[in-house]
């Protein structure tokens, strides 16, 4: 069981051109901003959109080649979970889940039995006789998942399965989904806006920006070497671009950084973790090779650390402890000095895409 897709299709001015491969038992997360084409890609895999060029292969069978071959959604053996679930409001939870087996030719009794099994596995068998309108958001999400899993699909597609949930429900449903995906033997593709979902649920992340793949890899890959500002923002790190020459990086937005790698030449990117940036009120006297001035634009408290947004050359986000904030009396508008050790700056050649 595996899925390989190379998809090219146009919708008005929008052009989607992406490749995707998913191994059996693994989950790929497709991450991207609004309108990047995530849903379109998923719909092409499900057979709800036809591709213009390329080929989609599920379990070794070509289901769309952009030309003569096109397998209808009902014959593709995929399961699809919509963002707002699209549960059938006129059927009970059990009937929703039994719909797939029934539609695929199982008997009424057998279908209901399968549905009960899947519901039990997801711990919501007690909801079997309710209507979708009578279950909570988190329960509805599980019902949608149960409905998609009940037909035993080779490919499970999820379009923002957690987006409609509130913060607490989200955590518990995410854990449930994590467990289900771990047990699930087929391929799974998960579309999401939320990097946390992607990191917790997926083995690999594909970042889609305006219809094209911007980066792809494990969460660690993305955090260490983000290829675009979007990816860097998602991963919570500072990404700076510039031109490297002789251990110095002349930044595109102004300013210069000393970097450890003396050999780096030409267009380059540099990543600085917010924790690696030190904030002080006066010019720092320490060994840090880089120091510059800036002004705080916003202060964000995040459980046990504070993210400080600073404009300057370069503008960055620094993370400090709440105690530091209290000591320094930093607030929006405060003029500060920033310093970073050269070894904390990970500079690498600009990926030529």
């Amino acid at each position: 069981m595996s899925v390989r897709a190379s998809v090219r299709l146009a919708r008005g001015a929008f052009d989607l051109d992406a490749e995707l491969a998913v191994q059996a038992g693994t989950t790929v997360a497709v991450l991207g901003p609004n309108g990047a084409g995530k849903s379109t890609l998923l719909r092409a895999l499900a057979g709800l959109e036809r591709i213009d060029q390329g080929r989609i292969e599920i379990d070794g069978r070509i289901v769309d080649d952009g030309d003569s071959v096109f397998v209808q959604p009902r014959a593709r053996n995929v399961g699809l979970v919509f963002q707002d679930y699209a549960l059938f409001g006129h059927l009970t939870v059990l009937e929703n889940v039994a719909f797939g087996p029934r539609a695929r030719g199982e008997g009424r009794q057998r279908s209901r039995q399968v549905a009960h099994e899947v519901l039990a596995r997801l711990g919501i068998d007690h909801l079997a006789d309710r209507r979708p309108s009578q279950v909570s958001g988190g329960q509805a999400q599980r019902v949608a998942l149960a409905r998609a899993l009940a037909t035993g699909p080779s490919l499970l597609l999820m379009d923002e399965p957690l987006a409609a949930l509130d913060a607490e429900t989200r955590t518990s449903v995410r854990i449930e989904l994590q467990r289900q995906l771990a047990e699930y033997p087929g391929c799974a593709v998960l579309v999401t806006h939320d990097p946390l979902d992607a990191m917790l649920l997926a083995d690999r992340i594909v970042v889609l920006e305006s219809g094209a793949i911007a980066q792809e890899g494990t969460p660690g890959d993305l955090a260490r070497r983000p290829a675009t500002p979007y990816v860097a923002a998602l991963m919570g790190v500072n990404l700076l671009s510039g031109t490297a020459v002789g251990g110095e990086l002349a930044l595109d937005g102004g300013g210069t950084l000393r970097i450890a790698d003396q050999g780096l030449q030409g267009r380059a990117l540099a990543v600085i973790r917010p924790e690696a940036i030190t904030i002080s009120l006066h010019e720092p006297q320490g060994s840090a090779r880089n120091a510059w001035q800036g002004r705080v634009t916003a202060v964000e408290l995040l459980h046990d650390r504070v993210r400080v947004h600073i404009e300057g050359r370069p503008g960055v986000i620094a993370a400090v402890t709440p105690a530091a904030i209290a000591d320094l009396r930093i607030d929006a508008g405060t003029a500060v000095w920033l310093s970073v050790k050269a070894v904390e700056i990970d500079a690498y050649p600009h990926p030529a895409r």
């Binding site: 499900a46 057979g47 709800l48 209808q72 959604p73 009902r74 014959a75 593709r76 995929v78 399961g79 699809l80 919509f82 707002d84 699209a86 059938f88 409001g89 006129h90 059927l91 719909f99 797939g100 539609a103 695929r104 409905r147 998609a148 037909t151």
Partner: protein
């Protein structure tokens, strides 16, 4: 301490609303005031009235059923813009709504009469004739009332998100299963609204019926035709029959408890 939760209406809505209510209800009251209440029992239980009422119910329900059977699919085709020239077709499909009913009857005669465009073929080849038959009444009623069903159902299909149908398709359902088990149940409110409008129009149909199907007691003389005949001779009988017709239809509407207001799908 429980204050009324009912919203209060501002005067600029309450006043014209009351005017509209009076405008629509006063003629009704005036009509009822003229009804021969003393002899009402005798009139409505007369053989003629009973057979006309029965015929009206049978034909209007048959016309509604026929309209549902073919009109709902047409509404779907229009909503999904499957046909070319959907814009023009949609307007043409409403023509029976705009046609003076007598002209609709003439058009039906021209099409389905014994020497009509299609009627000739049906008559010569199969000996099928519609005028003067109860089937003809059903056709006349269906012709003038189907547009109501179509216009309502098209709106219903349009406002149903296609995601439900897509979800069903990915679950392995055939087009027929999707339509029967997902699409139709989900546009239920629109269907009820359309059926009620369609049935109401069929029940009151007069001009097209008399022109196309004729008027023969027990076969083609529906309630509105009986009312018209009675108007020529005895107004109070006509009013009594109208009151019966109204009582039947208003009770159906009340029993439906507003479900004929097309609610949003889903």
């Amino acid at each position: 301490m429980s204050r009324p939760r009912r919203a209060r209406a501002p005067w600029f809505l309450a006043v014209p609303g009351a005017v509209a209510l009076a405008f629509l209800l006063i003629p009704l009251i005036a009509l009822l005031a003229q009804a021969p209440w003393a002899s009402l029992g005798g009139i409505v239980t007369s053989e003629a009235a009973r057979s006309a009422l029965l015929l009206s119910l049978v034909t209007s329900l048959s016309a509604t059923a026929f309209a549902a059977l073919v009109g709902v699919p047409l509404a779907w085709l229009l909503a999904r813009e499957v046909l070319p020239w959907t814009g023009l077709l949609r307007a043409l499909v409403l023509v029976p709504l705009l046609l003076p009913p007598v002209v609709a009857g003439v058009a039906l005669l021209a099409a389905l009469g014994r020497r009509g465009l299609v009627g000739q073929v049906l008559s010569d080849a199969f000996g099928i004739q519609f005028p003067f038959t109860t089937a003809g009444v059903v056709i006349a009623e269906a012709f003038v009332s189907m547009p109501f069903l179509i216009i309502t159902m098209e709106g219903g299909f349009r406002s149903l998100s296609q995601r439900y149908e897509e979800a069903a398709a990915t679950l392995g359902a055939s087009a027929w299963t999707v339509f029967r088990r997902i699409t139709m149940p989900m546009v239920g409110p629109s269907l009820i609204a359309g059926l009620v409008l369609c049935w109401a129009r069929a029940l009151g149909e007069f001009g097209a019926t008399i022109t196309f199907a004729g008027s023969f007691p027990g076969v083609t003389q529906t309630m509105p035709l009986a009312v018209y005949a009675a108007l020529e001779t005895d107004r109070s009988v006509a009013i009594a029959l109208s009151v019966v017709l109204l009582a039947v239809s208003v009770s159906v509407l009340v029993a439906l408890r507003g479900r004929y207001l097309r609610a949003q799908a889903s």
